[in-house]
């Protein structure tokens, strides 16, 4: 069970940040964007109830998440240490700050339920809600890296908490906008409100981004320090990925802002209702992935602490060096024979076969994806469309391939049973989930592309791709060989970013009209091609 505990423990950080953002960001939205106590604000009750409803949901979810987090931690320690973590665990800050967070979230939950819901336009009530939640925001300071430093603790903790606050303002605001879009679609709010709130939020959004940069830059400097720390260690790598995704999110934010400005000069709602909502949906996918990456970043040791374990940029670049893909696999016997030496602690013998086996798996998967992306590109031409649109069948083939190949020491090829291997090893569990995902993806997407009226079926593909990207980014582990693990991580995080682009592109292709539709579709397929190329040239360091 250690595998599941470990895996859930690494995912729950992202879930926690998501609900945190919905709650805190929702309150910021009320305070800075909506301002329902203003005399000339003519919001109807539907809008205010929706806004508060979302914050209410966030606070409830935050309580549950926070308690689950503590529960998971206890479980993880019990299975890892093989003994009860009590009473020592009660003494940890983890437990105390965690419990305090849950308590403040519960306080907000009660306050909204019994008071704010009945006084939606009262400034006093909104401010009280902020006051209740302020300690929750601060409590987080004791759960981050900053608290661990021997110098500049106060500064680092303050910066981190402000960073979280700025992020929550952005993400929470985006969730509020999505909720308002649903009201707008049902005509439950007045027409002019949609552009007005978008405009107000774009200003708050800019401040949030400024806040993110002002707080994030010194933090990054403090924890990374050197170019090598940025390029050659897990912490720096995840930060780089975060910056890339932030760039994508800002791209969408910029397009939205353009659209809002155009509206106020032309008074045409066309772009604001046919494109902007979908840009925001894509932006949401990106922001959620950033939150999961941020949670994963928090579990990495800062680069500055492990200078002896960072890779050089040559070593990093070498991971992407083109070469002829390995297309011959070592035999299963050779692989199994090398396993004992590979996993031994004392007297370890690196296994050539294990490395070759893994390279083969990655390279062949890469060939699958590259070929598929080629057919996918063809399917956009009328001449080839009829048969090339079956390209997602490749995913099903890939799923079958991975099922046999990804964990050779377990069933069906190896001696360890299916259930035993699935639930006792975090890595195998992830592989199994990924394998199943790939197969289901192929099945759904083929149907979606072939059927005349596929309904909601086409949306599974971008959602699953986004989820897959999130999995690649959320779970990065520092193993015993920190440097080797890092070099493997580099390729995988980059693939995570491309799956996110794949997901957003396909989502927009389904939602937009021409010409945006075609551009998005092509970008999506191109991202698939990129993933294929990374996998095709993937080479595992020997260990």
């Amino acid at each position: 069970m250690e595998g599941i505990a470990n895996y859930l423990d690494s995912l729950i950080g992202g879930v926690d940040l998501t609900f945190y953002s919905i709650t805190i960001g929702g309150l910021m939205w009320g305070l800075f964007v909506l301002r329902p106590w203003d005399e000339n604000a003519n919001y109807n009750n539907a809008l205010l109830e929706k806004t508060i409803g979302l914050i209410y949901f966030g606070s409830k979810a935050l309580v549950i998440t926070q308690l689950s987090k503590i529960g998971l931690k206890i479980w993880l320690m019990a299975v890892t240490l093989g003994k009860s973590p009590f009473p020592a665990f009660f003494q940890t800050v983890q437990f105390q700050a965690g419990l305090a967070r849950a308590a403040f979230a519960f306080g907000l939950f009660l306050f909204i339920k019994h008071s704010l819901y009945n006084n939606t336009r009262s400034k006093q009530h909104w401010l009280t809600a902020i006051a209740i939640i302020a300690p929750l925001v601060m409590a987080a300071a004791w759960l981050v890296h900053g608290a661990s430093r021997l110098e500049d603790r106060g500064l680092l903790m303050t910066l981190t908490v402000s960073h979280q606050l700025a992020a929550a303002t952005w993400v929470g605001g985006i969730f509020q906008i999505l909720a308002i879009w649903r009201l707008k679609k049902r005509n439950a709010i007045s027409v002019e409100l949609w552009p007005l709130l978008l405009k107000r939020f774009s200003i708050v959004g800019i401040w949030a981004v400024v806040g993110l940069l002002i707080t994030g830059t010194p933090l990054a400097w403090y924890y990374i320090r050197t170019f090598q720390g940025f390029i050659g260690a897990g912490y720096g790598n995840l930060l780089m990925v975060k910056i890339m995704m932030m760039g994508l999110a800002l791209g969408f934010a910029w397009m939205n802002r353009q659209a809002v400005e155009d509206y106020f000069s032309s008074r045409s709602l066309y772009v604001l209702t046919t494109r902007v909502p979908y840009y925001i949906e894509a932006e949401t996918l990106i922001l959620l992935t950033i939150l999961f990456t941020a949670a994963s970043l928090a579990s990495q040791p800062p680069s500055v602490d492990i200078p002896h374990l960072t890779a050089t940029w040559e070593e990093v670049l070498n991971m992407f060096h083109p070469r002829i893909p390995r297309w011959e696999s070592p035999t299963h016997e050779a692989l199994i024979a090398g396993e004992a030496g590979r996993v031994a602690i004392v007297g370890q013998v690196p296994s050539e076969a294990a490395t070759a086996w893994s390279d083969y798996n990655h390279n062949i998967s890469g060939i699958f994806l590259t070929v598929m992306s080629f057919f996918a590109m063809l399917s956009y031409r009328d001449r080839f469309h009829h048969w090339a649109r079956y390209w997602p069948v490749g995913f099903m083939g890939l799923g079958v391939f991975l099922f046999f190949r990804s964990d050779a020491e377990s069933w069906p090829l190896g001696p360890i049973g299916f259930w035993d291997s699935t639930f006792n090893n975090g890595e195998i569990l992830q592989h199994r989930i990924a394998t199943l995902l790939v197969f289901v993806l192929g099945w759904f997407e083929t149907r979606a592309r072939v059927k005349d009226d596929p309904g909601i079926l086409p949306f599974f593909f971008p959602l699953l791709a986004a989820f897959g990207g999130m999995m690649l980014l959320a779970h990065s582990h520092v193993g015993f060989e920190a440097k080797t693990a890092f070099l493997i991580q580099v390729g995988h995080t980059l693939m995570g970013v491309f799956s996110l682009i794949l997901a957003c592109g396909r989502w927009l292709e389904l939602k937009l009209d021409s010409p945006g539709k075609n551009i998005a579709g092509f970008i999506s397929v191109f991202a698939l091609f990129q993933i294929g190329v990374i996998l095709m040239f993937y080479r595992e360091p020997l260990y």
Binding site: A88, A97, W142, I345, G347
Partner: protein, 119 residues
């Protein structure tokens, strides 16, 4: 405002407790000071953060991956841990750490070393 008072009280309880982050070994004495043959010794480790020793486990791994729990005591400086090694015959060994850092991350680490007869 009556609600807020106990909440702030709870917060001060939280604040009064010191916390430290994700633990990795930044320095160990194995490289500078070889482990002596047939003689109990002490290994000094420095972490980048405070570790909860009550919630951590340290093993000596010897040939055939035999694991023996060893005692870990806090050193003088923050983040310092002292390990009590039993007397060891020449050969390859490793120290396996399961360390719970105060920021809630359970990290594992492995330090390989040799015990050699003096020349």
């Amino acid at each position: 405002m009556r609600v807020l008072k106990p909440l702030f009280l709870a917060l001060t309880l939280v604040i009064s407790n010191l916390a430290f982050g994700h633990a990795v070994v930044t320095h160990n004495s194995l490289k500078l000071k070889p482990v002596p043959v047939n003689q109990a010794s002490q290994v000094e480790l420095s972490f980048n953060s405070k570790v909860e020793l009550d919630l951590s486990e340290v093993f000596l791994v010897s040939a055939g991956d035999v694991m023996t729990p060893i005692k870990a005591i806090p050193g003088e400086k923050p983040g310092q841990v002292l390990l009590e090694l039993p007397s060891l015959i020449p050969g390859e060994y490793a120290i396996k750490l399961k360390i719970f850092a105060a920021d809630g991350h359970l990290s594992e680490d492995l330090l390989r070393f040799f015990v050699k007869e003096a020349k």
